[in-house]
Amino acid sequence: MKGRAEIREFVRSLLANSGDEGALADSDSLLFSGRLQSIDAVEIVVFLEENFGIDFAKIGFDKERIDSIDAIYALTQSVAKS
């Protein structure tokens, strides 16, 4: 099972792609703060589908659930439990 470190690394790579090399805490907002864009949210969705088997069509999509590393990790945990 992949975990928080992989998620952090992936998010960092997304930020780096858009030229954002700033500090990043696990609780920092990614989408609502404007650091990542909608197209990056798509990348996160694909990452979660491929690596964690999450199907957003089934569980419903809410940007808040992928807005920070903490939120993404919590989502992967809740899906793993269910």
């Binding site: 609502f32 864009q37 197209i39 798509v42 694909v46 069509a57 419903g60 808040e64």
Partner: protein
């Protein structure tokens, strides 16, 4: 900061860091002052004075500033004031037209009722797909109104209802999509987000209550910072408006370069403007659209920030975009978000999951072509009322082409394989930005709200720009 890209990148960074209006929200003295009673009065007075530039008279300024003053001095009542203000403003504006007032209040009540239904029965068909149900319901209402006998009471009421619902449609859609976010039982913020105090187009600025909840000031210091950012943005909007006035006077008054609609009309009438004038017209139109969208977006977001919400700008440095997709994101952010939230994501999450490219193309067309077209058709319901559904659809041939062209450009922009990022300001920033500008200059040939001429005339005009005549 000098990056490995060398001195030219350092220059670009310095350019990016330059601020015409100082970042007053980062000055501790200013932030502290803005939290005092005197500071709040000064801030409100300065903001009111700035808004006077855009609003027609003093009563309009006072109508806006009174709720902002209440929010500033009594931030604990912010949500209540924001929930009441738009309803009070509608009541004042429609006091002489009881039918419009009644229908508008009915639509607001309907929005809240639908929101409650989606929360109450999440597993129902409506609860599963509330936004799709809303759009289908609105379409059915238009068809019903179209079927009513002209100049009868049902005709009057149904079309009045269509008009009222059309202006609240996407606000209700955001409320319905908020049903998943926590805490969603807070109704005052949902009400505040229905055609909010700070204004909007038919596109909700800045999205719905869930977003507002995330960006709301949590303490006096944050409120002061957000309000200072709001004041700055308003000043920026005024500067742009002044510059826009000078721009129009110089290019269209002094140099007599035609406006896009004029250039097209001249072309249709067989007396086209000189080739260089048509190109100048297209290039100017690209910048003029940026002016227009920046000014109205900044004004709305400035008021939103004064009300205590740190909303992102609607238009943010569009000229720095190096891809078509990035420009689309930077140019009209909240409309792009609407298309992404209600059309792109639903399509992307459900269909073509095993085919990456097809999945992206399908979702992009669902948003930029289908969603964009549907948005405009629903916005311009009067055309359906006056000419019928099929005539309305036929009159949108240019818009459909525009949307298809845009969607194709966005697909290419997203799917294009990128090599290593080029170095240097010219190759990394300037040339890609010029390429993006060129795409939108061409696209703007089809950007006409007037619907005066068929698609073929627009195509002829475009061909003429490249010395092709048919």
């Amino acid at each position: 900061m000098v990056t490995p890209s060398g001195p030219s990148s350092a220059k670009a960074n310095r350019l990016a860091e330059f601020r015409l209006i100082p970042r007053i929200e980062t000055f501790p003295v200013v932030v502290s002052f803005a939290q005092t009673s005197l500071g709040k009065v000064v801030l409100l007075a300065a903001f009111g004075l700035g808004m006077r530039y855009f609003l027609p008279d003093l009563p309009s300024v006072l109508t806006l500033m009174l709720p902002l003053a209440l929010i500033t001095f009594l931030p604990e009542y912010r949500r209540f004031v924001l929930a009441i203000s738009p309803i009070a403003i509608v009541a004042m504006q429609s006091a002489n037209d009881l039918l419009t007032l009644g229908l508008t209040l009915a639509v607001i009540a309907l929005g809240i009722f639908l929101y409650w239904c989606a929360m109450r029965w999440p597993q129902s068909r409506f609860g599963q797909r509330p936004v799709a149900s809303l759009l289908i319901g609105f379409t059915a209402l238009i068809l019903l109104a179209r079927a009513a006998t002209p100049r009868s009471w049902p005709h009057l009421i149904l079309w009045g209802l269509v008009g009222a619902l059309a202006s609240y449609l996407w606000f209700i859609a955001y409320a319905l999509s908020d049903r998943n976010s926590k805490p969603s039982e807070e109704l005052t913020l949902e009400l505040a987000a229905f055609r909010p105090l700070w204004g909007s187009t038919n596109t909700p600025f800045p999205k719905g209550a869930a977003y507002l909840r995330r960006i709301e000031a949590k303490n006096p210091e944050q409120l002061a910072v957000f309000q200072l950012k709001g004041l700055k943005l308003l000043v920026w909007a005024i500067l742009l408006a002044v510059l826009q006035g000078l721009w129009y006077r110089f290019f269209h008054g002094y140099l007599r370069i035609p406006m896009p609609d004029q250039a097209l009309t001249m072309s249709v009438q067989g007396t086209p403007a000189a080739w260089h004038m048509r190109w100048a017209c297209q290039i100017l139109a690209y910048f003029e659209l940026i002016f227009t969208f920046s000014i109205f977006g900044h004004r709305i977001i400035a008021v939103c920030r004064m009300a205590g919400f740190n909303a992102l700008r609607n238009t943010y440095r569009p000229l720095s975009a190096t891809t078509i997709m990035e420009f689309f994101n930077r140019f009209y952010y909240y409309f792009k978000e609407l298309l992404v939230d209600f059309f792109f994501y639903p399509a992307f999450l459900r269909y073509w999951k095993r085919h990456k490219r097809i999945r992206m193309i399908f979702a992009t067309f669902a948003a930029a072509f289908f969603g964009n077209s549907l948005y405009h058709l629903m916005r311009d319901w009067q055309i359906v009322r006056d000419g019928g559904l099929w005539k309305a659809i036929a009159s949108y041939q240019v818009l459909f082409f525009y949307n298809a062209f845009l969607a194709a450009g966005l697909c290419v922009s997203q799917l294009r394989k990128r090599g290593p990022k080029p170095r240097g300001f010219v190759r990394a920033h300037l040339l890609p930005a010029v390429g993006v500008g060129f795409f939108y200059c061409i696209l703007n040939v089809f950007d006409s709200d007037e619907r005066m001429y068929p698609l073929v005339e627009h195509l002829k005009y475009l061909a003429g720009l490249f010395f092709i005549h048919f």
